[in-house]
Each structure stands twice: as C-alpha cells, then as structure tokens.
C-alpha cells in the first residue's frame, strides 16, 4: 500500500476508498498526520484495516487511530461498527485481552513533598499488586463466587469491600456490563480466572505513578480532581487468562460458524458470526462476562494501590493521600451503542481494538459530574514518557462512533527491541531520569522501552486536531511497576 492509494481528506485525515479492493464493504478512514501515516505504511496495519472492511454488516467506515500498529486479523487502533442485530460480531476484532483498559486515580499529594517516600511507594506497589508471568491474584475465589464476578464485575468488588460507590460511578458501564452469562465461559477460562483475579500479569501491562505536569483544560481537570504537581496512578491491565481463553475458545469455534453462515473472509483471525445467531449471542454473553472480570480485576488492583499509598503517606501527611478514582476505560471491547450514521440513528456493535470509548458531553452512560465535560479518556504513553488525560467531544460522537486513540502505538518489533536494548541499561536510564522502576523481567522491560513506541504527544496532537478528543492534562511518570 502506498500514499497514492489514499484520498487526502485533511491534514490529519485520509481515506482508502472501497475501490481499493473489490471485497471492501466500506471505506477505511485513517486519522494521522502525513508523517505518522508514512510510518504506519511500514507494517501491515492498513492491510489489516482493509481486511476488516470486508466484515458483513459494517456501517459507516472502518476507522484507524493514529496510534495504530499491526496486530493479528484486525489492527491495534481500529474501530468498526456492525449493524445490530444482523451484522456480525468478531472476537478477533476485539482481541484476546477482553476489556484491557486503564484506570486513573488521583491524589492530593504533591510530588515535591512525596519525593523522600517514592522508593517506599514503588516497593509497596510492587509488593501488593502481583505482577509477572503466571502471577496469581490477591484473592482466590470459589467457583460460585467467580460466577458473581463474571455477572457483576466491579460491583462484586464493592460488595466485598474493595470498592466505593464513587469508583463504580466513574467506571465505563459503571463497572458492570449487562448481559453477561458465566455459563458461556468455558471451564478452562474459569480455572484461569479463579487464580489470577487481582493480578497485573506481564507484557505491556503496568502500574505507573505519575505527576500531573500540565493542565490544558482547568475546568475539566477540576471536575476530575486533577491538580497540577500532584500524584496520580494509572493501572493498565485486562481480563488475564480468563479473557485470553474466552477469545481462544470462540475464535476456534467460529471457524465452523463462518462456514455455516456462508461468510468469506480474507483472514481466518477475523472469523465472526451474526449477532442474532446462537454463536454470536453466546460470544457476546461470554465477552461481557470476561469484561466484568477485567473491571473487577482493575478494582482489586486499585484497592491494593490504595493500601500502598496509605502505608507510604499516611504517617507523614495529614490528608491528601487517598486515591480518588478519575475514570476506568476499556480499550478492547465490543459494545452495543446507538450512533448517528449518515443521517440516521443506528444501533450498532462498536468493535474497539486498541481504541478508547470517548463519549462527548451529554452522552448516556456518564456520571452526572462528567455530563457537562464529556467522558475522561486515559492515554498511557510508553514507559518513561508522558501520558495524557483527554475528554470525548461532540466530534467524536459524530465522526468516530464515540471513539479515540488508546496509547502510543508500537513502531519497533519485540525481537528488535530485545536485540537492541539492554534491560539493565534502560532501568538505569529511567532511574537517572527520576523514575523508580520495579520490574520482574529485564527482558520484558527492554521490549517495552520508549523507543519501541511512537511519540504519544504526536498521537494526542492528531486526535486533538481532528477533534475526536480534547486535551485535559499531561502526566509525567515517576514510578513504574511491571511484571
């Protein structure tokens, strides 16, 4: 694919028309500067977006965010909406880590005052939030209890004393997506979930302590409780082995479903089933159960992070160490939503894979305090670089199915990162920049090095220029905990 294959819509928007390939059902719209687009053309991301544009029942366009990178089947940073109920749902277009997402909690502790205690904080976060390959969770749940987790998500955690009502109010879907059915989750997935709830895992998942470096929208920041110079915490993880197994199970079983429904696809990872078919319904119910597991998982980790904050700061500060939830967002999810598409209100399933819901002011599903400003969107950068808090806009509602980017987006393969970057050197470099690092695996740390990712500031600038999110605050990392 080359630049000449695109129609330039604007400085930050490009379109691949359906004439590009005869099996495309809808165009592909890419949000990127020319510089970012040229970088994206170096891997298979946009071929994957074109493949996604062949899914039956698509409406509007397949959208590609500026942090896009090559994934499997569907690109990471892709959004596609299929008409409900006859359109399809595709597990591979949501991803193995169902409801992978980010939670942001804010404190009133000033970084300068916290400096003497940052080592202790990093150590306690690392101790209380289990991470790493095969890590087991902070609690073990019985089979019956797991059913409740799968049905009730973070609301289960509230009943167990691990959450506040405010946490739930400030979580996408209020921490519990309706329509989950634990009986559609396999025994293997359940076994994996029972041991891993309340754990971070490995890979690109992390807990990060940030200082709120710059505020762009004082009104929105005040509503969210973000104060310049104060500490905040991001928790990035998902549904762990339970979600991976749910997706594995349904991608495997849908290999037969596509034959039954006569669906032709260019890539077997895109297998799908009509939402009104028994197969599609089963997956929807299982995916929602896995999503609830992820909400509960991040809630337990937030509880552990609060414990670390309290033990570190309560002996030294009279107040301000309590972590108050800003928001919790999903960036791998399929959601039934209603959007205005080409002049009509349409109920659709929005597949977001490496893309964040970004509902604008007044949209349904937001707590009262966020109704006037729009939904907070949390954009973690790569390790050692900035992260951003944005808000959804009216533009995101009308142009991107209420969606925006999800992070920095990789540019370097893991193999190259592993070869070129030494974990120990990277740790020293980060520590030299004043970032406390607690990492289970130095090889894993190297794979997630900042140079393996795009510059998150350019990604955020793009979505801001397009108008599908608005800047609220920029965060700078001061401690990173990784598996």
């Amino acid at each position: 694919m080359k630049l000449k294959d695109f129609i330039k819509i604007g400085d930050y928007e490009w379109e691949i028309p359906t004439s590009f390939r005869k099996d495309m059902r809808v165009p592909v719209r890419v949000f990127a500067s020319e510089e970012l687009l040229l970088e994206v053309l170096e891997d298979q991301s946009l071929e994957q977006a074109v493949n996604a544009a062949t899914l039956p029942g698509l409406v509007g366009r397949v959208l590609v965010m500026p942090d896009v990178h090559q994934g499997y089947g569907f690109p990471i940073g892709g959004v596609a909406a299929t008409e409900y109920p006859h359109g399809v749902i595709s597990p591979g277009a949501i991803g193995y880590d169902i409801n992978c997402g980010v939670r942001l909690l804010a404190s009133e502790i000033e970084y300068e005052a916290a400096l003497p205690y940052m080592d202790t904080l990093a150590t306690l976060l690392n101790e209380y939030c289990p991470s790493g390959v095969g890590s087991e969770g902070v609690v073990k749940v019985s089979a019956g209890e797991l059913d409740k987790v799968l049905r009730e998500g973070a609301r289960w955690a509230l009943q167990q004393g691990y959450a506040t009502e405010n946490d739930l109010q400030r979580t996408e879907e209020f921490g519990m997506i309706e329509g989950a059915d634990p009986s559609k989750v396999s025994e293997r997935a359940r076994q994996r979930g029972r041991e891993q709830i309340g754990s971070l895992g490995a890979g690109n998942h992390f807990i990060e302590v940030d200082v709120i470096e710059q505020i762009f929208d004082p009104r929105a920041a005040a509503v969210m409780g973000l104060r310049e110079g104060c500490l905040a915490v991001q928790i990035h993880c998902g549904s762990r082995g339970l979600g991976h197994q749910v997706c594995t199970d349904y991608v495997q079983s849908f290999q037969q479903a596509v034959k039954r429904y006569g669906i032709q696809l260019p890539d077997r990872e895109l297998v799908c089933a009509p939402m009104d078919s028994p197969e599609g319904q089963d997956y929807l119910k299982a995916m929602r159960a896995a999503a609830n597991f992820a909400f509960a998982n991040r809630q337990l980790l937030a509880h552990s992070a609060r414990r670390a904050f309290e033990e570190t700061f309560a002996p030294h500060f009279k107040k301000g160490w309590q972590l108050v939830q800003v928001y919790d967002i999903a960036h791998n999810m399929g959601k039934i939503e209603t959007h205005e598409i080409e002049g009509r209100r349409v109920k659709v399933c929005v597949h977001r894979k490496g893309a964040t819901r970004a509902f604008g002011p007044g949209a349904p599903g937001l707590p009262p305090e966020y109704q006037p400003i729009g939904q907070p969107v949390i954009i973690p950068g790569s390790m050692g670089t900035a992260s951003w808090v944005l808000v959804g806009t009216e533009e995101s509602m009308s142009r991107s199915f209420g969606s925006t980017c999800h992070g920095a987006g990789r540019v370097m393969s893991r193999a190259k990162a592993k070869k070129d970057i030494r974990g120990e050197e990277l740790r020293r470099k980060l520590e030299g920049e004043g970032i406390k690092v607690r990492a289970g695996s130095l090889a894993g740390l190297a794979e997630e090095a900042p140079q393996a990712y795009k510059n998150v500031d350019r990604v955020v600038e793009t979505v801001s220029q397009v108008g599908i999110a608005r800047k609220v605050a920029r965060l700078r990392p001061v401690a990173v905990i990784k598996g």
Binding site: A202, Q252, Q255, R268, E269, V411, A443
Partner: protein, 141 residues
C-alpha cells in the same frame, strides 16, 4: 526441520518448516516454548505430575485449527499447571474432524520468561512445499 522468529511490530511470529505434519507441529511447539523462554526442571522436583505421561487427543476442523488447538493446549498446561509437555508419538489424522493423537511427558517448569496470551489464526495457512510443510504462526503477547 526448524523454526525462526519473524519480525512483527506488536506480537511474535514464527516461521516453521518440517518434512511432515507431525514434525511441523512438534517444531511449532519447540519454537513457542523457545519464544516464551520455557525451561523444564532438570531434577524431578516436587510437582505431583513430574515424570507422568498424558495422552493427548485433540480435534480441529482442519489442519490449521488443529495446530492452533494443539499449541493452545500446551499454553494452558504451561500457564495453569506449570508444566511443559514433551510430546512424542504424534499422529495427525486428516478427516472430519482432523484429529491429533500423541503422548506427552509432563515436565515441571523451571523457568518461564514471557507470557504468551494466545495462538492466533492470523494469515495461518499450512503449505505443502517440495521439502514437506511450512507455515507462519502469530502469537498474541
């Protein structure tokens, strides 16, 4: 017979080749274990399953589905049971469905460096070549 890592921006990919299908499946397993840095305990250790054998019987709609199901079985044992499966006597039986039959010696894991979330079907196709079979497998990590 062998495998090599293929560059992939976000995940991991392996090119695998072998003179026959059982060989291809076993090489894919070796490659996946190598990517994950999975190493078995040398001594028997205390794992209750150490040294025991397990019969494998797996089904798939076709050769590719069977390969994904086989590797997913190994991933499950790795993550959930802390076991590396040393597979032998592997038979691949085409049909409707395709079937895999084999024996696995259970080896407790000594070390695991990287978590693999899943084995994907992304562009997965087992091709016949002049020398046997080859394929590329993408793993979500």
């Amino acid at each position: 017979m062998g495998y090599r890592e293929v560059p992939h921006t976000a995940d991991w990919a392996l090119h695998v080749w072998a003179p026959d299908l059982p060989g291809l499946f076993l090489e894919a397993a070796r490659g996946m274990y190598a990517l994950a840095g999975a190493q078995p305990e040398e001594a028997a250790g205390t794992h209750e399953a150490a040294g025991a054998a397990r019969r494998l019987e797996i089904q798939g709609a076709d050769a590719e589905s069977l390969l994904v199901a086989f590797l997913s079985e190994l991933l499950y044992a790795q993550e959930q049971e802390n076991l590396l499966l040393e597979v032998s006597d592997l038979q691949i039986l085409p049909g409707d469905p395709w079937r895999l039959i084999g024996t696995a010696k259970l080896r407790p894991l000594h070390r695991l460096v990287k978590a693999i979330k899943a084995v994907t079907f992304h562009n997965l196709a087992i091709r016949q070549t002049g020398q046997g079979y080859e394929t590329e497998i993408v793993f979500d990590v």
